[in-house]
Symmetry: C2
Subunit: 417 residues, 2 copies
């Protein structure tokens, strides 16, 4: 380890992060599978529906018996019974006759359409009038029309959403193979950092913001997080905490070490673990340049700056994609775009420096169309800036600033709703 590595660009770091292999797979019950990522493709083991179903209340008929029917010249059909919900239709339908059928009912043999009840009228107990013709297939969902048997449904790397769970439920797939979710250990270091509960904060000390912001961010994204007490600026203490945390976590997220000496500690921690590998040592971004990513066996080690705004931005922009990689996103070879960006135009000009990617917090104003992205300025040490922001705009490394009115994508923080 410890060969000198130079600062990488944001896109270089993202390429590294997206190449991280997923964790092992595991079987989970369908009711716990939402948001999880498939480790094996799913094909339909059977057809949906597995019988011809009525999709309207009405009468199962031979469509041709209704051809030419109208208000003035209705078709007369013999009512030969009723199909009950959830029951097998054993009675085949005869030409010239109809069976009452509820939405979801099973079409009887011989029937090829359903006449909606709105277009019928009872003439007597045995006869109905049909006032509109139906074509074969009308108001019917045919066997396999929704999902065909053997159809490929979801590939490896698909994240299961509520409606995807519904497809699996329809097919009787009660457990699925998904990639394991990473367990994440979050802690802060710094002799100046004290617990949030500290009353009468001594001068020179600050409360532990990062453990709270980082764990909250991860939790709100449905990830499993453990937090650890603040670790003093000591290589021994840091290494010991990392060693403990690695026993039952896949990822270590350490922030701080903002004093000059402590910055080296995060790097030197890796030395304490044989076979560790330094993947990233500094990212050419603002805010947050001094970030470290290492790999210790299958475990990831992130060292983030102590600056709360920098730490949270790096978490959002780089740590989250690394966790997504562990969760199996991209295991299909196709890295799906996050759904949380919104188009807007810049309300003012934004300067930038070539060769560095800038992450600018913005307010998203939806009062006008197109929406406006209003940049927030302030010292990067200010936590209140982020609390006012709805999201951020990225100025790529090869761009020397953006003009007022430029169309941008606003990457939204978790919604305030």
């Amino acid at each position: 380890m410890s060969q000198f590595l130079k600062v990488k660009t944001a896109s270089e770091v993202l390429a590294i992060v997206k190449g991280i292999p997923p964790l092992a797979s595991e079987a989970v019950a369908l009711h716990a599978a939402v948001g999880r990522i498939l480790a094996a493709p799913i094909r339909a083991p059977e057809a949906v529906p597995h019988f011809d179903r009525a999709v309207m209340d009405g009468y199962a008929v031979h469509a041709r018996d209704t051809f030419g029917a109208s208000e003035t010249l209705p078709a007369l059909l013999e009512l030969s019974g009723e199909i009950r919900m959830g029951e097998l239709s054993t009675q085949p339908i005869q030409t010239g006759s109809a069976l009452a059928i509820p939405t979801g009912g099973m079409l009887p043999e011989g029937a090829d359409a359903v006449v909606m009840v709105e277009y019928t009228q009872p003439l007597d107990e045995q006869t109905i009038e049909v006032t509109r013709p139906v074509a074969p297939g009308d108001n019917v969902l045919r066997r396999g029309e929704d999902i065909e048997e053997g159809q490929e449904l979801f590939g490896v790397g698909s994240r299961l959403r509520a409606q995807d769970i519904g497809v699996l439920a329809a097919l009787g797939i009660a457990t699925v193979n998904v990639f394991r979710k990473p367990g994440i250990a979050v802690f802060s270091t710094g002799d100046e950092v004290v617990p949030v509960e500290t009353r009468g904060l001594p001068p020179g000390k600050v409360r532990d913001i990062n453990t709270h912001t980082l764990s909250s961010h991860l939790r709100q994204n449905g990830l499993a997080v453990s937090t650890f007490p603040i670790v003093p600026d000591s290589l021994e203490a840091l290494t010991a905490t990392c060693r403990t945390a690695m026993e039952d976590h896949d990822v270590i997220l350490l922030s701080g070490g903002s004093s000059v000496g402590a910055r080296d500690f995060t790097l030197r921690i890796l030395d304490a673990f044989p076979g560790s590998e330094l993947l990233v040592h500094g990212i050419a971004i603002r805010p947050g340049k001094p970030a470290i990513l290492g790999r210790i066996g299958q475990k990831l080690f992130w060292g983030l700056p102590g600056q709360p705004m920098s730490a949270l931005m790096i978490c959002q922009a780089f740590v989250m994609p690394s966790l997504a990689a562990l969760e199996g996103v991209g295991s299909s070879g196709d890295w799906r775009a996050s759904g949380t960006a919104v188009s807007a135009v810049l309300s003012r000009q934004l300067p930038s420096v070539q060769g560095r990617t800038d992450y600018i917090p913005v307010i998203l104003s939806r009062d006008e169309t197109p929406h406006r992205a209003i940049p927030l300025f302030g010292k990067s040490a200010m936590i209140s800036i982020l609390a006012r922001a709805d999201g951020y705009v990225v100025i790529p490394e090869h761009v020397e600033g953006l003009d007022s009115g430029t169309g941008v994508e606003v990457h939204l923080f978790s919604a305030r709703r």
Copy 2:
């Protein structure tokens, strides 16, 4: 109860739903507060930072001692010591002298700026050269510059995001008053509905999709859900299950009752509870018209259609806002827009009927700018349509369809990422 109510428009239903009062408030620990909604406003009990802090590594100085300094004519300052991280600076600074200070260190009395270490050079052990002037306040975050003591930070109805939790952590606010989150009971009814685990599905039967899609949707939005076994189409069984579920849940989400008789049951359930009130009986939307919302004391009762696509769309469009109202969104009088809509243009013309709001599932194609919304068509009984969709487009009630190329907002389903 049971007075006849006519079908309401989508906006009428949303107005009713947004008027539902929030649940009682409770105190929660900061680490569990992300995503929760404030029941009391928060003011800053102290200033952040609570001392003048260096935001760069360098030297604390009197700014005026550096005025006119340059590469060719550096200012010479006496190095009178070092400020250590997290410690109180007791040594005031003298004119013509400097103290080494790390990022985050406390500025000594008399100093008003920090010279970045990059613009200094040690001349000998007691003297440094400064090659660039600093103005008062440079590289310093002054007491209260981030957050002033007494400043109003978050109003009632604010949803706490990760960075907001960071602001509270900085201020030492370890517990917050938030509205209680609703507990939701989800179950399906229907004699045709069988558990997902059913092997060899009998003709006429369907597996229980809705319990899975609805509970998954709610869980992915961070809500607490209990699911119940399938209830047969019997008023007694339904009423008994509702009575049990109401004991320890705030909301009942019943779907199904798609047979003709069972549809009346959902309405008649309310009659079994004295003082119940029917708020909505039918919504003029497609898909999903037959939806019922009732109030039983402080509890909400939703009766959704059995059609999986209709049930999930109504859940997304109407049930979620009702849960948000219970959670305290809108308690500020200001209903915040959800952050999950993306602008796009329609890829083709969409017909609609005046007086009805249409919810059209779409694929969001991000290959071009502007993004394209590609409508998905099919019978509303098809679950596979929703599994292909990224979100939906709403055609409001007073619009008779939308032309191809029209700008629309795509309401995203939970992200596939």
